[in-house]
Subunit: 257 residues, 4 copies
């Protein structure tokens, strides 16, 4: 049975607090964090990224959701445009889909050649090992959803105008090619589930539970981030709060609500 919203929110709150500690720790230590989100269409990548980023500093925590490559990019080193997105000291970058596109949609839909695909499976562990050895904390999550649940979500997207954009022609193909995508995923997991950069599969048949589990897992696997709690006491203002006053003639917009 799916988790109720109220319960979800009360469970999420303390996790977001811990994420905030992690962010503070990154800042303090200059560590870098990369989180890769992959999974079936409609599994819940966007919502999870959202739940993590929501309360954090956007100048520190960034989402990399790359558009499809330009013609020029398509001829460059495959990892080049992803490498350009990697974090600097203290930053966290969350990849909403990632270099694993090549092992998923590109493979199944035939957007890359078999040779490019084979090369990717061979290079991806090396690429990731270089990042990890360079000191980047790398987490890779696969968000799993059964077809029955996926069908329900597709149906909702088809009907709900707010979610219509999430349903692309490629998604419709993905329904037809559900089994092929499963095989591609397994080949990918086999090739890239390594000691330095293991995959973590998370059950997202219940999205709220999935998000909580993913975040909790992340928090348990980040190195110990305890920092002496900063206490902060604001000095008194020393005068009555000032009234906002404009010396221009620009009027505030009307209040609709």
């Amino acid at each position: 049975m799916s988790m109720k919203k109220n319960k979800y929110e009360s469970l999420l709150e303390p996790l977001q607090q811990e994420l905030s500690n992690v962010a503070r720790w990154l800042q303090h230590t200059g560590k870098r964090l990369v989180i890769v989100f992959e999974g079936r269409d409609a599994a819940g990548k966007g919502g999870s990224i959202h739940a993590i980023a929501q309360r954090l500093n956007p100048r520190q925590v960034r989402v990399a959701a790359l558009a499809k490559p330009t013609e020029r990019e398509r001829t460059q080193w495959y990892f080049q445009r992803y490498a350009g997105q990697l974090p600097a000291a203290g930053e966290c970058v969350m990849f909403d889909r990632s270099w694993y596109n090549r092992a998923g949609v590109e493979r199944v839909m035939g957007y890359c050649t078999p040779a490019e695909y084979a090369l990717f499976l061979q290079q991806v562990p090396l690429f990731e090992r270089m990042l990890v050895e360079d000191g980047i904390l790398l987490f890779k999550y696969w968000l799993a959803v059964d077809q029955e649940e996926q069908e329900a979500r597709f149906a909702e997207r088809a009907q709900d105008p707010l979610k219509r954009w999430k349903l692309s022609p490629i998604d419709l193909e993905a329904r037809r090619l559900y089994a092929e995508y499963g095989r591609a995923r397994d080949a990918m997991l086999r090739a890239s589930h390594t000691r330095h950069a293991p995959w973590h599969i998370v059950d997202f048949n219940d999205q709220r539970r999935g998000r909580l589990n993913l975040i909790r897992h992340l928090l348990e696997h980040v190195p110990d981030v305890a920092l002496a709690a900063e206490t902060l006491k604001l000095p008194p203002l020393g005068h009555a709060p000032l009234a906002e006053r404009y010396t221009t003639k620009i009027k505030p917009i009307r209040s609709y609500y």
Copy 2:
């Protein structure tokens, strides 16, 4: 009196639906949208951006929250690093603070010279006119909050560990320099409130009401975006939903919840 969460959410929902239409329209027409968010510290920029982005495609709608410039960037053309963030066809970019830094924090804290400041005030209308004439839809919002309310939010940030990161030493200075910031804002409004790129001031003493008003204002000022409603009917799957099955030995992570 501040708006209740339930009411807020029920009012936000239809606005997000309209935003979704705008996004579809951008995609369709190749139009580009830039939204600039400026305002007092703690006014509510991040939350507003969030409310807009939440249900939209991250590959289409991007947040530009630039870190402070590197030493090299500091010597380049002032608008250069912002120009690099401008949208391509069909995209929306929301600036969480923007080139107006020079007229706010840089001015008040003395991070730029008076000459650089004067030059900025002179160039910014030209820069924006070039973008607008190039076809970019440009909206600039100033989020207003009285010091009494700002003080309450600062106090909350000081106490709430989840919000601690939002309180920087510069914010503490901002309390002391509240009046100076007000004067800087007015000089900025005077110099850059132009016919092609006017400022819109939004009262954010109640954050929820502020967000709703801002979004509603935006929606009313975007050109008519009505697109024939796409009806979409999923073809039947043609077989029972497939069970997810892994051929690797990687086990899902434990369920904590």
Copy 3:
């Protein structure tokens, strides 16, 4: 009569020395220099850039020879990709063709719409004024060549395999459209020959003479760059020069010459 190679080289040498002073002065003062090279095909842009860059530090003096825009770039703000190439403190950037493409080849060949063209002519003086007011030293040279001489160079390019790459299908069109290109050039000069960023026309019917004149003109119009001559005396080595010795087994390549 065209200048002899020996004479050219002996005249170029002292100019390059002065260019070296300019570079040192840029470094010292943090000034930025932009030189725009435009002109008829085969006029001699590449050779001129070469003559300037040849003896200077490539980490300081850069050539921006942008490839044709990607599809994505074509939908962005027209000046965006050029703005990304502008110099930081102490640098010089030479544009081998530039944003003026829009007023030349794009105009004549119909690669942009009349509205885009008109907008460019209107915006380019503003864009350049912003750069100049920002402190960038901007020089714009038009390299002029008569069709008779251009024909001779085209013929040489057609025959000389080393120069074949310089002859593109667009160049062949340029022969046919010589008069149109002339008209486009004049419209461009009229729109963009401004007080802060004037055009300088240089006769390149004799390439060597053209280069010398261009460089000399540049040197005469850069602000006074006299810096106290640095005298530098190497301290004695203190021992006999060491013999190069390798502890690996890699052998030098064979000497062909």
Copy 4:
């Protein structure tokens, strides 16, 4: 005995012609070429790059001479900023110093930690293998010069104002640390001379001979690039060459020569 200029130029000419064929072949096949130039200070990297680039299309053949990293870049994945410079289809990029900085100047001058250095030596063969497997043609040249010759060049640089910029304080240190640089070079060669990306040592005690040998070596090791010779015959112009005529009042600059 060092090669005479006349002889050098007559030998260089046919090599540049072959380079031009290589460039045409790159264009045709979409292949990518990377050439890394490393070596002792004053060995002749710049001049060699120059001799190669001189007659080729700057839109196709690029020099990557990166400035020292910004503070932000210094905290990113070490190879990140170099990866951003790699060629797209049909392009050639020549690195005037490269990622090997870490094994040379950074090592000897202590600009990186021993751990960073050790990691670099371990990662560089993997990084290069990824590029080569991706289809990039990678050539690495070490330009060798004995200290006696190097001393002579340093002395010339100290005296010749045109060459003064080539002499930095770090170069002066390099004289003192000649032996250390030699050891660092050998450690580098040992770690990174691999089957897929071997080093080629070229004797540059005579710069002209060195350049010719390097280019000849490159030409002999590029895959067979023979393309059916394009014959190109210009169609007749059909009218007398047009006289250049300006309809603006801008006068050509004065002729100094």
